[in-house]
Symmetry: C2
Subunit: 397 residues, 2 copies
């Protein structure tokens, strides 16, 4: 039953994406290790499952004690890297800008525990080959439409821009090479608060005035877009963000909100501009995230290709829908036809006739029919038919 | 476009399976290495992608020079092993017999080349928990229905039984411990002929009288079921095969054939009884294969659980359908709406209206509309609409 609900929910998301003119692409889960290594995946790079070399290559690496070089392949930790490589290899035959869907599995070497799976599904849409702000607008609105189609309401799209973050951090006195590390600490602001941020920055030994500058900003309460304009000297980034938010607000028709959030960082190193994340008021934690990664594809090509993507964390959606007790609408009802060995042919004719309307399973008549019917009910079967008995489908209740 | 055709074909197979009362299960592609090792996968065991240990475990294995023990996990090489483990872990809540579907990716460390992929899709149905011959009958007929639904006709289900093979090989004088190796050679009979089989058996140094005995049988031409009854003293196996073939013939209504083939071996070590394979007269090589594996699940449980499965090789199906120039029927037509920056809102309203009927993509108006429309056509778009121009959808031709 869980698999059926998963399939149904993924179908709703896929259909929304397709209806909005995105097309599905299929990328392999196995990637060259060197591609994964250069992907700037942030902390996720520590969670890559590496595939052992085989045959002579392995023998050679072991003989030469090249213990850092025992793997030549790895499992993807997200869908953005394989898509970037796919685009680099196939762009000659793709429509530009390329608007694509990936609903597929990714892998992270986490210790299996609640909420941390080593295999999980992401639902991504990406637009590659344009730096137009309408790419961001379309991704945000289409992702929101998928959530609305799933019956998830009351959510908020948080938005920020790495360029704004950079400008503000440089503005208060941090240095260029400190930004990655400062951002990682700043990313935890929601969890550890102002004091936590201060403590972790101090532990790193950064300049007191830079730390004070940042904390002063945080102490002003929620930073509005207007306030950010005062702090940030990247005019283009501020204008882009302003336009994206205005356009999304028009499309949203109050079905969801979009808010500027200066503390939104996102972990991946590859983001270059806009970043976004969706939070539901009804459920803790983020349910979708994404951003612009204008330099990732360039690692596989001799040119820069602008790109932006938005990813729904499917496992989160699935657990939300399970909590809500979601049911699959308009399901083809399931019937079982029970037969005794001698009645196999007759049972098949009956089953085939019923299949015009139902999904029909054939079972040899069990010793304990009652117990068997209970089990059927648990599995979502609603009706049964016993061969040789009076004609007609009977309801299981 | 290829991805869409793949999705469509997999959908046809899935719907056929579901309509026949099978239910989808989801198993992980990562398995414990020790489970893969004990799976009796035959030559496929040499093609397992192994995942490098991580952290302390890896350090320890390297320090102790345990070079055979650098991997703790691996990628599944088929869907039968993960299903067996899944069944062993979950049987308390499953309906018995368990009739299930897996349409999913498997991995083999082949050198990438035409017809040999390292990642490919298999479409399996299995029935676990019954030794009834109706399980075989149902699997064969349901798999055949899926092929017929895809428009593949003119195919033949070849069937044999490992127990018959064993009885005949022992009968001519091979020894129990030689059977696995003799079977591997015999499996190549279609390719290398009688002379090839004789040569390879002689190279292994097997008894001349056993080799002569086997070659004598092969020299009789096609061995019918009646002839096999003379050679095989496993009465139960012969009767089972006879019944399965008769029941399948009744269901097939001459839409496909089922024939006994003494030379059918199948590579996997885990088969214990019936084995089958589907060949199409129109395309070389097999398109589906399967058999009974009554001892595999027992490796994960303290009891023997009978099981039988049938797997369609999806990549083969896909290339057949591409050759045939298959098209997706009743596809929701695709339209593109072109807009200039200032018309974004208007374009969105238009797109949303068209989405009631079509899949609709939004694109900013390109400099060269003609060239862009050509590209759209290649991607399966059939109509377009330019914002600001006269109302109405125009056909792309």
């Amino acid at each position: 039953m869980e698999v059926e609900l998963r399939d149904y929910l993924q179908g709703v998301i896929l259909n929304t994406y397709r209806s909005n003119g995105f097309q599905r692409v299929n990328t392999p889960i196995i990637e060259e290790a060197e591609n994964l290594d250069k992907s700037e995946g942030g902390e996720n790079l520590n969670l890559i499952f590496k595939i052992l070399k085989r045959g002579d290559k392995l023998t050679k690496a072991l003989e030469n004690q090249q213990y850092d070089d025992l793997a030549d392949l790895g499992l993807r930790y997200d869908l953005t890297l394989p898509l970037s490589r796919y685009y680099a290899n196939n762009r000659a035959k793709l429509m530009l800008p390329f608007k694509c869907i990936q609903i597929d599995k990714v892998y992270r070497a986490e210790r299996p525990q609640k909420g941390r799976l080593r295999e999980f599904v992401q639902c991504d849409i990406d637009i590659i080959g344009t730096d137009s702000i309408y790419a961001e607008v379309e991704l945000i609105h289409t992702t929101a439409k998928a959530l609305l189609a799933l019956g998830i309401a009351n959510f908020n799209v948080k938005i920020n821009d790495r360029r704004i973050l950079k400008s503000i951090l440089l503005g208060v006195g941090f240095e260029e090479e400190q930004l990655a590390s400062v951002s990682i600490i700043f990313d935890k602001y929601d969890k550890i608060g102002t004091d936590g941020v201060r403590r972790e920055l101090e532990e790193k030994g950064y300049s007191k005035s830079a730390i004070d500058g940042l904390i002063n900003i945080l102490n002003q309460g929620r930073i509005t877009l207007e306030m950010a304009k005062e702090l940030c000297d990247h005019v283009e980034a501020m204008n882009d963000l302003d336009s994206i938010m205005k356009e999304v607000e028009k499309l949203s028709k109050d079905q969801y909100r979009v808010t500027f959030d200066i503390s939104l960082v996102r972990g991946q190193g590859y983001y270059t501009g806009t970043i976004f994340e969706i939070e539901s008021a009804d459920f803790k934690g983020s349910i979708a995230g994404g951003g612009r990664y204008d330099h990732l594809i360039g690692k596989f090509l001799n040119e820069t290709v602008p790109a932006v993507g938005f990813s729904i964390g499917f496992e989160r959606i699935f657990s939300i829908m399970m909590e809500k007790g979601a049911v699959i609408p308009n399901q083809k009802k399931k019937v079982v036809v029970l037969f005794e060995t001698s009645q196999f042919e007759e049972a098949n004719v009956k089953a085939e006739e019923l299949r015009k309307e139902y999904d029909v399973a054939l079972y040899e008549k069990p010793k304990k029919v009652g117990k068997f019917l209970n089990r059927l009910k648990e599995q979502g079967y609603s009706e049964y038919f016993i061969c040789g008995k009076s004609e007609g489908v009977e309801h299981i209740d």
